[in-house]
């Protein structure tokens, strides 16, 4: 922890001159860089508020935005941990589809059994990904691309291509739809997943392993970190997040179909992670940054709705924005590397 200002005052101020104007601008820049994305989010929100004539920044609408992005948000949290290890999971959208379809296929067994089966399927898919990436030494994007196809194929085979209705209300978490009559349960689940992921990455031993593996796998291995076990852990956590996302999806839409995996925003769960500033090359970033990324993209798509862009072109515009933002971030990262 940093030394407190009182202690600094007591020591004789011989070798510590007051920070010059140059140092202050550096400090300012660092602070700005740290909170630049929050600033972008605020600017976007204010813009949306003006565009919607004051109806955007109401508590009700903010809850709506959070609800709309909860499924993607949970997936993105899982994706964050994977990207922190310099990996990637292209299959999270498909695992969501598979878990949703399996959960509803077994809904007759009751709430908890079907839920557990869904979580089990998600974690099993994550385990396969993890084993392939760690012990199989398959590049992450190839292993998870395979899983994307396998999970999607299985989802279609299990559901026979049809949409399954949530007759037994498996998707209604926490018994009620809204807590305190105001906060939707999906938002609470998203918050819980985020806090757990934050706790794992920042407060647990595994968290430092994750950052170490992403920073430099060889050094990590040499210093005795169980690299393979860490990799399996993050992919299983990703699979679990996908299964939780599936439950949230069922909660929101009341049904599940195998084509969920083809929804562009769900498949592109790495987009908010990168927009939030987590490095695709691993080792730097965090869960809260991802939340900011999810919200930025969510507010952007809301602005597009407010401006009257129809549904299908919205996807293209969003895809283009994602490519642009990823491009900008990679460019900036490269510049900062050169400067170092």
């Amino acid at each position: 922890m940093s030394s407190s200002p009182e202690l600094l005052e007591e020591t004789p101020a011989v070798h510590t001159p007051a920070p010059g104007p140059k140092e202050q601008t550096y400090k300012m820049r660092a602070v700005l860089q740290k909170y630049a994305l929050v600033l972008v989010l605020l600017v976007l929100a204010v813009f949306a508020n003006i565009k919607s004539e004051g109806s955007f920044l109401t508590p009700q609408n903010i809850m709506n935005v959070l609800t709309q992005n909860a499924v993607l948000g949970v997936l993105a949290v899982g994706q964050t941990l994977i990207i922190l290890t310099a990996g990637i999971d292209l299959s999270l959208g498909s695992i969501t589809a598979l878990a949703a379809v399996t959960t509803l296929t077994f809904q007759g067994l009751g709430f908890f059994p079907s839920l557990l089966i869904g979580f089990g399927v998600g974690m099993l898919a994550g385990l396969v990904n993890g084993l392939l990436v760690s012990y199989g030494r398959v590049p992450a994007f190839i292993a998870t691309l395979g899983m994307m196809q396998v999970a999607m194929g299985l989802a279609y085979v299990i559901s026979k291509g049809f949409s399954i209705d949530d007759k037994d209300h498996v998707g209604l978490l926490l018994g009620e739809d809204k807590l305190f009559g105001f906060v939707p349960s999906v938002v609470i689940v998203w918050a819980l997943v985020t806090i757990i992921a934050w706790f794992i990455t920042k407060k647990m031993k595994y968290g430092s392993y994750i950052y170490a593996v992403g920073g430099n796998p060889r050094t990590a291995k040499a210093s005795g970190i169980p690299v393979n076990r860490t990799l399996i852990f993050v992919y299983m956590f990703g699979g679990l997040c996908a299964a939780i996302g599936a439950i949230l999806y069922i909660n929101r839409y009341g049904n599940a179909e195998p084509s969920i995996g083809n929804i562009a925003t769900l498949s592109m769960s790495m987009a908010p992670v990168v927009v939030g500033g987590t490095s695709l090359f691993g080792g730097s970033g965090g869960v809260w940054k991802t939340i900011v990324g999810v919200l930025i993209l969510g507010v952007l798509s809301n602005i597009m709705v407010l401006m009257g862009v129809p549904q299908n072109p919205q996807q293209i515009v969003q895809g283009a924005i994602i490519i642009l933002v990823v491009f900008m971030f990679a460019w900036q990262e490269r510049r900062s590397r050169i400067r170092q």
Partner: protein, 319 residues
């Protein structure tokens, strides 16, 4: 030079020295095994001229896409957008058909070049991982294909391209594309540069190769292959569906990996990729002929890809 007698190599050493043969001919060996499996399941019907001809004919579209994928993978990259790209190109070809067949073909090829150019420039000049860029490109292409007609198919039943599609053998077009790319790779300096970039990009840069231009070029080649495959699909089916080509990126990558091409670039034989394509198509043929749910094919090909990559890694690590 030396007068010492050369000791004959032990069998194990000879195996290690020749392990690249196992990698280069992996697809051929597996192909033979698959023919045996097919023969065991279907009998002489499977190895009839009709069925084998069917398999070659069916492999044309995947084959053209796989050639583009092959060139990209040679540089250590990957193109996940080939399937969606193909669907979009078929739509463009169908929609521009009123301008005449030559105008339509030219427009489609141009669109393929543009798509490849965008992906290539972003990858080469943005120093971004190819799988991220082409993964996003996949959704952009799919979104565009769904948007232009609001999800409807485009019919080209009465247009001249279907006459070509019904009249010409499709494998002939595959052969032509393959021949052009083989010529570029083996006979021109550009081909040498592509292999050099895949082998060691830093070394290639230092030795004066414009690596960025080569990277852009390979994605343009893949885009053009997507355009040709799109036209082929339109000619074959008479309609262009915006949702077609789903999972094709997977089949092309599986074919390329089975063909012994290293995912890290720089290594791989052209013929291996061709054998890989025939293997993947034959696998689909066997699954289809058993009346299996068509979506089982997705799972099987995904698992085949995993096994191929693990197998290649294991053979490479033999010491």
């Amino acid at each position: 030079m030396s007068t010492q007698a050369v000791a004959p190599l032990k069998l194990s050493d000879r195996l290690v020295a020749n392990k690249h043969i196992a990698i280069d001919y992996m697809a051929w060996i597996l192909l033979v095994l698959l023919v045996i499996v097919g023969f065991a399941m279907k009998g002489t019907l499977f190895i009839s001229v009709d069925n084998l001809g069917n398999i070659v004919e069916q492999s044309a579209i995947i084959g053209v896409l796989a050639i583009g994928q092959f060139v990209v993978v040679l540089t250590g990259g990957i193109d996940l957008s080939v399937g969606a790209n193909m669907a979009m190109m078929a739509m463009i070809c169908g929609l521009t058909m009123p301008f005449g067949i030559f105008g339509s073909v030219a427009a489609t090829l141009l669109a393929g070049i543009i798509i490849g150019l965008i992906a290539g420039v972003v990858i080469a000049y943005g120093s971004l991982p190819p799988f991220i860029v082409t993964f996003a490109m996949m959704f952009v292409c799919r979104g565009l294909a769904l948007t232009v007609t609001a999800g409807e198919s485009v019919s080209a039943i009465d247009s001249p391209i279907t006459a070509v599609g019904y009249g010409w053998p499709h494998w002939a077009i595959w052969l032509i594309v393959a021949g052009i790319i083989w010529y570029i790779l083996v006979k021109t300096r550009t081909g040498t540069k592509i292999y050099a970039v895949g082998g060691n990009i830093e070394a290639a840069r230092v030795s004066g190769i414009n690596t960025k231009r080569i990277l852009v070029l390979v994605y343009v080649i893949s885009g053009v292959c997507g355009a040709v495959a799109g036209m082929l699909a339109l000619a074959r089916n008479g309609v262009a569906m915006p949702t077609s080509g789903s999972g094709y990126e997977m089949q092309t990558i599986a074919a390329v990996v089975l063909g012994g091409i290293s995912l890290f670039g720089g290594e791989g034989k052209f013929t291996g990729a061709v054998a890989g394509v025939v293997f993947v198509t034959m696998l689909r043929n066997i699954l289809d002929s058993n009346n299996a749910d068509p979506f089982w094919a997705f799972c099987v090909i995904g698992i085949v890809l995993w096994i191929a990559v693990i197998l290649r890694g294991l053979i490479e690590r033999i010491r």
